[in-house]
């Protein structure tokens, strides 16, 4: 899909150029050297496609997510979103951009107010934007609950009464309330059980084919990355060391880092994890 977009000479939805993020080490003992969490990262994502970012802990994946979601200002480099360089935007303009790039975390439980009902949780981001009336917001909340596979009768439940999979569905519904163009999923499936991961992965695929959603899928699960993504970028020490189609990354890895990551993936003791019918 991604390559198709490229062939037609389409503009990427999101384009990152030579992104650098340095954290100062001032407050720690001694040296004035900073940590380069991102060290010249460049890539682009086309509308309706998925780019997976894989790498070890500490490789810079989550820093990248925070920079893209405009939660942190990169030290240098450019992030072009629909022709705007969001690095240079004012705080006010950023607010409009943030709603278009929603971030979904590993454990949604910690991002919900446990005393709030599902309905309130969904409506809050829209209420903060203040453009819609109460009824319109509720109608949209109901529609989204159904769309992510929860029922609109769940509106009155507390977030703490939901299972892990239901909470992740709710987090996705909340992000969709603002009609974003990009979802940044930072280890969004990692904490879930295998069978629930499959359900949420299918939901992401469905949303992509029905609404043309664009995903940046950050994970250390190479198999899931290969399943969901059109392209995979492998990160190490703040850089992208390899970038290509899942097939190529899995079958002809070029970089040592990729090979190590692949070698570390635990596998069931036979070809693939598909279970032969017995």
């Amino acid at each position: 899909m991604n390559t198709a977009g490229r062939d037609k000479g389409m503009q990427p939805l999101l384009e990152v150029g030579n992104l650098v993020k340095t954290y100062s080490r001032r407050r720690l003992a001694g040296s004035g050297e900073g940590v380069r969490a991102l060290d010249g990262v460049s890539f682009s994502i086309f509308r309706g496609t998925t780019l997976a970012i894989v790498g070890e802990s500490g490789s810079g994946k989550s820093t990248l997510a925070s920079c893209l979601a405009c939660l942190e200002k990169p030290t240098s480099g450019a992030i072009r979103f629909e022709d705007k360089d969001i690095v240079t935007l004012s705080e006010e303009d950023l607010r409009a951009i943030r709603r278009q790039m929603q971030l979904i975390f590993q454990d949604p439980a910690s991002s919900f107010n446990p005393r709030w009902g599902v309905g309130e949780i969904l409506i809050e981001p829209l209420a903060l934007q203040g453009n819609l009336g109460r009824d319109e917001m509720r109608t949209r909340a109901h529609a989204l609950l159904e769309q992510v596979g929860l029922s609109s009768s769940m509106e009155a439940k507390l977030a703490s009464e939901l299972s892990g999979g239901q909470r992740q569905r709710l987090a996705i519904a909340r992000a969709l309330m603002l009609e974003p163009k990009v979802l940044i999923l930072d280890e969004a499936l990692s904490a879930l059980d295998c069978s629930v991961q499959a359900q949420i992965a299918n939901l992401l695929v469905d949303l992509q084919s029905s609404c043309g959603m664009t995903y940046l899928f950050i994970t250390h699960d190479l198999a899931m990355a290969a399943h969901l993504a059109d392209e995979i970028a492998v990160m190490s020490k703040g850089r992208i060391v390899e970038h290509g189609a899942p097939n190529k990354i899995l079958n002809q890895p070029q970089s040592v880092i990729t090979r190590e990551l692949l070698a570390a993936v635990p596998r069931l003791g036979f070809a693939g994890t598909r279970v032969a019918e017995s």
Binding site: S57, H220, P266, G269, T273
Partner: protein, 327 residues
């Protein structure tokens, strides 16, 4: 083969605030042989952590042990006095949790945190404690034992911290180590590092362990036997190789199918993973029959009303499913 630990018909429930009981373990029986690694596979809520806690007498106050026995060296741990349990925990049976950054004291050198455990179990005088601490650090951190022992947790990587927890767990040379999702928070490279540590310990110290996880692939090439939990019950128990490569219970089969394969990336058109359909009633209130029946792709009429019990497929492979009854 004698068993080190034997669990008989264990039934544990949790009492909610309005007094209702919800079953967490529903008649679980199995044994653990010396030097054996038993993999326990189950999803959240299947009862696998409740199992770990009940083996150590660490069940929370709102839990109710309805029946069963946990036999360790001939004693029933469920009937043991708190003091007796305290002596057994950490010394004879120890537990490794999943989150190493929370389990360690942040302002104490990790060497001291291991020595404290030896001290608490009266493993000798000061010199002996120091000697044994050094020994266990050398087992886990060959070549850098000194440096690691003198470090604080924040100076260590996630993998190193997890190894410190393993050091604590094996310091007293326990008969059984229970590891509850010990690699869940680690990335694949570190995960492999920790699995290799366990493999080494097993080979060199003959460690007997229960390895609890929701990821079947972690058990491959490591566990001797695999026990699959569903809704607080044993769905399937058998030799690891058999269960992992040709599972028999419809739940185990469906679970494995839902994991995307690494070796054969999807075709352009095929992007949907097979899932297990949700249980419309979430199995509540408790019903008779097989607990997996509402979600089972191969359910039969009998599954609704009768409990399948166990069918032996071979001497060591059992499955709780009617489909195998007449084979």
């Amino acid at each position: 083969m004698g068993s080190i630990l034997e669990i008989r018909d264990l039934r544990v429930a949790y009492r909610s605030r309005n007094g209702d009981l919800s079953r967490a373990l529903d008649g679980v029986s199995f044994f653990l042989g010396p030097g054996e690694v038993l993999g326990v596979l189950g999803e959240s809520g299947s009862g696998k952590s409740t199992l770990a806690l009940s083996l150590l007498g660490l069940l929370p106050r709102d839990s109710v042990v309805a029946s069963g026995a946990v036999l360790f060296q001939g004693r029933d741990l469920l009937k043991a006095e708190p003091r007796e349990l305290q002596a057994i925990r950490g010394k004879n049976i120890s537990l490794i949790f999943q989150e190493p950054s929370v389990a360690l004291h942040p302002t104490m050198r990790v060497g001291r945190q291991v020595r404290q455990i030896l001290d608490a179990h009266g493993m000798g005088d000061r010199d002996e404690l120091v000697r044994r601490t050094r020994e266990v650090f050398e087992t886990l951190f060959a070549g850098e034992a000194e440096r690691i022992a003198r470090s604080y947790p924040h100076q260590l990587s996630g993998g190193q911290r997890q190894r410190v927890l393993i050091a604590q767990a094996i310091a007293c040379r326990p008969s059984v180590v229970i590891a509850d999702e010990p690699t869940a928070s680690l990335d694949p490279t570190t995960q492999k590092e920790i699995l290799d540590v366990f493999r080494g310990l097993r080979k060199n110290l003959g460690l007997t362990m229960i390895f609890i996880t929701h990821n079947p692939a972690l058990l491959s090439g490591f566990a001797d036997r695999v026990l699959v939990f569903y809704a607080g019950r044993v769905a399937e128990l058998g030799p690891a190789k058999r269960v992992l490569t040709s599972p028999k219970h419809p739940y185990t089969q469906a679970l494995f199918r839902s994991i995307p394969p690494l070796d054969e990336p999807h075709d352009a058109g095929e992007r949907s993973l097979p899932t297990i359909p949700p249980d419309p009633n979430r199995s509540f209130p408790p019903r008779s029959g097989c607990p997996f029946e509402p979600r089972c792709p191969e359910r039969m009429e009998i599954c609704k009303s009768r409990d399948p019990g166990f069918v032996s497929l071979s001497e060591s492979h059992m499955v709780s499913c009617f489909r195998y009854e007449n084979q």
